[in-house]
Symmetry: C2
Subunit: 129 residues, 2 copies
C-alpha cells in the first residue's frame, strides 16, 4: 500500500499506461495491437518499453504463463493527481484556480459536466464553513 518511488512517466510510457487503464491487464501482444491503432510500432519496441516500465515500477506483471501479463501499478486517478500537481507547480505557479479556469475556458463542458462541477463546488463551500 505504501507509495513506491515512482518516476514521472515519459509521454510514450503514459501512452502505454493509458492502454492498460482502459483495457485492464494485457499481454505485450495486446498492448502492441492497441498501440498500432494509433501509430505503427514494432512488437519488440513495445516489449522493451514494458520491460523498462517494469523495472521502473510503473507496471506490474504476472509471469505465470509464458506470455507475461502486464498491468498498471498506479491507478489512473493517482497518476492524474501526480501529473496535475506537477503541471500546477511548473506552469501555473501553484494556482489551482487559474488552472481550473483555463481548463473550463478551453473546453466546452456539457450540461451534465457543469452540473457535477457545480455540485462539487457547493460541497467544497459547505465544508469550508
Amino acid at each position: 500500500m505504501a507509495k513506491r518511488l515512482l518516476p514521472k512517466p515519459t509521454d510514450s510510457e503514459l501512452e502505454i499506461l493509458q492502454i492498460l487503464w482502459e483495457n485492464g491487464s494485457c499481454t505485450v501482444k495486446k498492448v502492441n495491437e492497441i498501440l498500432n491503432e494509433k501509430k505503427e510500432t514494432g512488437y519488440t519496441t513495445t516489449l522493451k518499453m514494458l520491460q523498462i516500465m517494469y523495472e521502473k515500477n510503473l507496471v506490474e506483471r504476472n509471469e505465470d504463463e509464458r506470455s507475461h501479463i502486464y498491468s498498471a501499478s498506479v491507478s489512473q486517478s493517482d497518476m492524474q493527481k501526480i501529473l496535475l500537481d506537477k503541471l500546477l507547480e511548473t506552469a501555473f505557479s501553484g494556482s489551482a484556480a487559474s488552472l481550473v479556469m483555463q481548463a473550463l475556458g478551453n473546453s466546452i463542458p456539457s450540461k451534465d459536466e457543469l452540473k457535477k462541477i457545480k455540485e462539487l463546488l457547493n460541497k467544497i463551500e459547505r465544508e469550508q464553513k
Copy 2:
C-alpha cells in the same frame, strides 16, 4: 500572430520560461542568478539552454547590445493552454470535467477563487443557451 511550430518544452526549459514570464526580458546573467536561487547552475549551462530554446523558437532575443536580452516567445497563458490540452489528452482521456474535478479536489481553493470559478461557470451556462 500565426502560431509558430512550438515543441513542447522540457521541464528545464519550462523552468526558464517561468523566470522570463515572471521577470520579463532578462539577460543570461539575470536568468542564471534567478535560477541559482533554486538550484546551482553554471553560467554556460544557462546560456546554452537559452541558445537551444532560441533555436526551438521558445524564446526570442534582442542582440542589439553585447549582452543579449531574452524573452519568452509564448505567453504564459498560451503555454498553459498547450500543456493543459496535452495533459487532458494523455492522462484524462480528454475529459476536461474530470480534470477540473481532480484539480478542485486536490487543492483547497480560497473563497475568492471559488467565487471566480462559479462566476465563470455561470457565464458558460448562460452562453450555452
